[in-house]
């Protein structure tokens, strides 16, 4: 009696060209290539792990959950902002090397790690929390219909990975622009029927607010959560023209 043995899983070699930068040694970033043996089910993050664990322990990158929800490992993969943990290597063209570099527009700290502080600063400035001064009617809850909840459902999906903001050409050249992610998170409260503040509309009507958006759609293309970012920005523009949100 013969027992069927599973056939060996096919592996393939891919070349990753990674933009390295060590602030203690380098004055300019440099490209370095690595060959790794990968499985068809592997992601770019697995390739980075293999390099860090088996070839060069100094390779520096951020990752936390590794399942597309913490938003730590946004990076530029073949020129497009992607989460390394959601990008399957077999979906890329593996006959060519895979270029991996840090997201653009934020200060480079080391290898694939950037300083996220300017990004979070503009996130804080749009006041991404419920502002309601009135007492809820009858009872303790602020009731909301399913339709009212659906109005801002798309923008609740943001994981603050900065893929959108760091894909925006306006953000690259204008360091003061709030950026798509901050506007998405403002949209989430501007269109929330329970929120009573117009302060975010005032903040985003600013010189560096929504009017900087040139509708290039890079942000919508980059978002790993599929948020219609450009549409959300357009809706905030209209809310500012109307003078009110929800």
């Amino acid at each position: 009696m013969s027992i069927a043995t599973p056939s060996a899983v096919e592996t393939f070699t891919v070349t990753l060209i990674i933009r390295r930068f060590d602030p203690e040694i380098d004055t300019e970033p440099r490209w370095q290539d690595f060959d790794v043996e990968m499985l068809p089910t592997d992601r770019v993050l697995d390739a980075l792990h293999k390099i860090k664990w088996e070839q060069d322990g100094s390779l520096t990158f951020r990752r936390s959950c590794a399942h597309g929800i913490c938003g730590s490992d946004a990076m530029r993969i073949n020129g497009r902002n992607r989460l390394a943990c959601k990008t399957l290597i077999k979906d890329l063209d593996i006959t060519q090397p895979i270029y991996v570099e840090a997201i653009k527009g934020l200060p480079l700290e080391k290898d694939l790690v950037v300083d996220m502080e300017p990004f979070f600063q503009s996130y804080r400035e749009v006041q991404p929390f419920l502002i309601a001064n009135s007492k809820p009617k009858e009872g303790k809850e602020r009731a909301q219909s399913p339709e009212q909840r659906a109005r801002y459902d798309d923008t609740t999906k943001c994981i603050l990975c900065a893929a959108c903001t760091s894909s925006c050409p306006v953000f690259w050249t204008d360091g003061q622009y709030f950026g798509p992610a901050a506007i998405v998170n403002a949209h989430r409260f501007i269109f929330d029927s329970r929120d009573e503040s117009n302060v975010r509309l005032d903040v985003l009507a600013d010189r560096e607010g929504v009017w900087r958006c040139r509708t290039t759609f890079n942000c919508s293309e980059a978002c790993p959560r599929g948020i219609q970012v450009t549409q959300a920005i357009a809706e905030v523009k209209q809310a500012i023209l109307r003078g009110r949100g929800a």
Binding site: T173, D174, V199, D202, V203, A205, R207, R214, L241
Partner: protein, 146 residues
């Protein structure tokens, strides 16, 4: 003494004209109007009647004899020039990080726009194909012989 701030983290902008907002709105409104104006202009000049072959000095003179086309071209001139200049201003803001360069470029932009607007408006409203006192060999054939 109270330690409560009335409106914590109030926005930086308080009153005044929001030029960015009106500039953005201007681009949309003028853009929509320009689609009508420019396509109307192209159809009348290049398609209707004999088409492009009909264009000569007399054709232009004939158009500027009508207040309708004077207003049409006047609207096209102002809407398009300011639309273009505002777009250029955006480019300057994007790429001229040095404040001095930024100022100089915007100043040059505003100046050239103003001159072109003034000259264009002057031509539209003072155009005379047969100015009195000009020598006959410089005048087009349709002018009355003095």
């Amino acid at each position: 003494m109270s330690v409560t701030i009335d409106s914590p983290r109030a926005p930086r902008r308080t009153g005044g004209v929001n030029w960015e907002k009106w500039g953005w709105l201007y681009m949309r409104v003028s853009g929509a109007l320009l689609v009508v104006l420019i396509f109307g202009h192209l159809i009348v000049n290049l398609v209707v009647g004999e088409g492009v072959k009909a264009i000569d000095f007399a054709f232009v003179a004939g158009k500027y004899a009508s207040p309708f086309w004077m207003i049409w071209d006047f609207a096209m001139l102002w809407l398009a020039l300011i639309h273009g200049a505002n777009g250029m201003r955006t480019l300057v803001n994007d790429y001229a990080a040095n404040p001095t360069v930024n100022k100089v470029l915007k100043f040059a932009l505003a100046g050239s726009t103003a001159v072109l607007l003034l000259l264009g408006t002057l031509v539209i409203f003072t155009f005379d194909p047969c100015p009195a006192g000009a020598s006959a060999d410089l005048l087009p054939s349709f002018c009355p012989v003095p």
